[in-house]
């Protein structure tokens, strides 16, 4: 015969405390699904509104005052130009800064100032970078609202966050690797160049890609430069005016509703989000792949 099963059940105040705790799980779970729910609904609404407009013609037409003829051609080309130039400008500076801080900088007040400064720059609102670009690149350097002025502004904006990510990656490289290289007679720079940098590269790449995806969605800073313009040609050099996909989305969003541009805005959002999510996915894949090696 089986032994009698005794169930101890709390009563009174303890029972109430336990019930409250059990109930709290579901309340907290519901709260943490709010963000995901909003994201899902936004995705559904955009696709529902914009998917039908997303044709090859839409991607290859210039902007137009007629909603059904307008497209993303000049803004996609402008985005590629300005992001390409941003990467070329920001990448060497960001990696150089991170190497200097982590490998060469003497522990002195200058290093502290550089580090504090980077942390604060990373928190400066993007529109302030737009003001900087307007006053320094567009007006003072007379570059006008050009691709180069836009790229310099975006580079200034993403350098701090890229440096912080690159620092993190360089710090992850085991010290034994550096010691081994130095013991074999390599100089400090050779050690960094041939051993530390290759090891840190996946982490640095992840940081860069995330920063570029931030720059790809940036709107306010570029509008401040004067990039809110009508472009109906293909960019061919760095000194031309330009527009980007987020600026085009802004343009269509603020048009009077009856003209039908909201559908275009939705379709353009699908394009922009696909690009941003792809960049984030690539970053995640790189991080995962190299984590285990």
């Amino acid at each position: 015969m089986a032994a009698p099963v005794i169930i101890l059940r709390a009563t009174g105040r303890v029972a109430r405390r336990q019930a409250l705790s059990r109930g709290s799980r579901w309340v907290l779970l519901a709260a943490s699904l709010v963000g995901v729910g909003v994201l899902a609904y936004l995705a559904y609404d955009t696709i529902d509104t914009g998917a039908s407009r997303l044709t090859w013609d839409f991607l290859t037409s210039y902007p137009s005052r007629f909603a059904e003829r307008a497209g993303l051609r000049s803004s996609i080309i402008g985005t590629v130009w300005v992001l390409g130039a941003t990467i070329v400008l920001a990448l060497p500076v960001a990696i150089g800064t991170a190497i200097w801080i982590e490998e060469f900088a003497p522990k002195n007040p200058l290093l502290t100032v550089v580090k504090l400064n980077l942390a604060n720059l990373a928190g400066v609102p993007s529109i302030i970078y737009g003001i900087l670009g307007l006053a320094v690149f567009v007006r003072f350097a007379s570059l006008g609202p050009s691709i180069l002025a836009g790229a310099l502004t975006l580079a200034a904006m993403i350098i701090p966050m890229t440096v912080i990510a690159a620092q993190e990656a360089i710090r992850q490289v085991p010290q034994s690797l550096r010691d081994g290289s130095l013991a074999l007679g390599a100089t400090h720079w050779q050690t960094v160049r041939h051993h530390v940098l290759p090891q840190a590269l996946p982490g640095i790449m992840t940081g860069i890609i995330l920063a570029v995806s931030r720059a790809a969605g940036e709107t306010a800073a570029l509008i401040m430069l004067g990039a809110f313009t009508f472009i109906a040609w293909d960019n061919t050099n760095l000194f031309e005016d330009f527009t980007t996909v987020p600026i085009q989305i802004y343009n269509w969003t603020v048009r009077p509703r009856q003209q039908g541009f909201q559908v275009n805005a939705s379709a353009a959002i699908i394009v922009l989000m696909a690009a941003v999510l792809t960049l984030n996915l690539i970053a995640a894949v790189i991080r995962e792949r190299f984590r285990h090696e």
């Binding site: 100032v113 609102p125 440096v163 709107t219 401040m224």
Partner: protein, 315 residues
């Protein structure tokens, strides 16, 4: 037979020695370039401060500091012009306040759930999904604030008297935007609270909820506060959501159901108008930007200081 010390012949040593100083000279150059890279960020900060304050100085030659801080009306476009900053500061405070009313409880609840309740697998899925909310370009949120929040949700709920551009729709999207900052940073802070504290509390008979609320949250409080301060700084500096959804009417109000204008909203408005250099509009842009810079700087510094204190306690 004479033995050579080096396989490359007697010249090899010499050559190797000659290479050394050359290599060092090259490395000297590389070091110089690295230092140059590191100064770029210092120059950026220097330029930001110089631009903001030199142009503001020109502005304050025409508009007195007293008018800027004591006048209550912001009316730069029509006569009589008036530059009282408080309507814009209040506009920013309005949207940020209501955004926090929504984002802080939800963000905290999410952090507590992920850190104290969720199975490791759930957390591994949920946290990255939540963080991806932070990667959404804010112009996309701005589009939704008008087209989804106001037109599909708020107007059917509150009636058509609600202005199409209202601060509530902007606050809701700002809350979504800062939610991952609060949830993710607070979760990090809670996850690094030592296990011993939790086990001691369980040992004394505390329930899971009591452990979370009375032990883990207080122990992680400085990290949680830091996440909220950072979220405030981000929300204050956000431009597209408030410029598109909150309107362009400067007002001294905390009501979420009115059309208002924030500091960043005003700046974008001037930027769109392509204000000519030397006009009072153009200069007012820099005065507002300087104010915005100082306010966000204060919140960022406060957040960093809290994080540093928090690190000292647990590492």
């Amino acid at each position: 037979m004479q033995q050579t010390l080096y396989p490359g012949g007697p010249g090899a040593v010499h050559q190797a020695l000659r290479k050394r100083p050359l290599k060092r000279r090259g490395e000297f150059l590389i070091m110089g370039m690295l230092v140059l890279c590191a100064t770029v960020s210092l120059v950026t900060t220097g330029l930001i401060i110089y631009v903001l304050f030199s142009e503001s100085a020109t502005f304050f030659r025409e508009v007195s500091l007293a008018d800027f801080f004591l006048e209550t009306e912001w009316q730069p476009l029509f006569d009589p012009v008036s530059f009282g900053i408080w309507e814009l500061v209040m506009g920013t405070f309005n949207v940020v306040f209501w955004a926090l009313v929504m984002a802080v409880p939800i963000g905290m609840a999410t952090a507590i759930y992920l850190s104290e309740y969720a199975a490791p697998r759930t957390r591994r899925v949920l946290k990255p999904v939540l963080e991806s909310l932070a990667g959404v370009p804010t112009v996309v949120y701005a589009y939704f604030a008008v087209n989804v929040i106001t037109l599909q949700i708020l107007r059917p709920l509150l009636g058509n008297d609600l202005p199409i551009f209202n601060s509530l729709s902007a606050s809701i999207m700002l809350a979504v935007m800062v939610l991952p900052t609060i949830a993710s940073m607070s979760e990090d802070a809670m996850a690094s609270v030592p296990r011993d504290l939790r086990e001691a509390a369980y040992g004394l008979g505390a329930t899971r909820l009591e452990v979370a609320v009375r032990v883990v949250v207080p122990a992680a409080l400085s990290g949680v506060m830091a996440s909220i301060l950072l979220a405030i700084a981000r929300a204050i500096g956000e431009t597209m959501i408030v410029a598109i959804a909150a309107g362009s009417t400067p007002r001294l109000t905390l009501s979420p159901l009115e059309s208002i204008q924030t500091m960043t909203g005003y700046m974008l408005q001037v930027g769109l108008g392509d204000a000519a250099r030397g006009t009072i509009d153009y200069q007012s842009l820099f005065a507002v930007a300087a104010m915005l810079f100082l306010i966000t700087f204060a919140f960022n510094v406060a957040s960093t200081m809290l994080v540093n204190r928090f690190r000292e306690v647990y590492e």
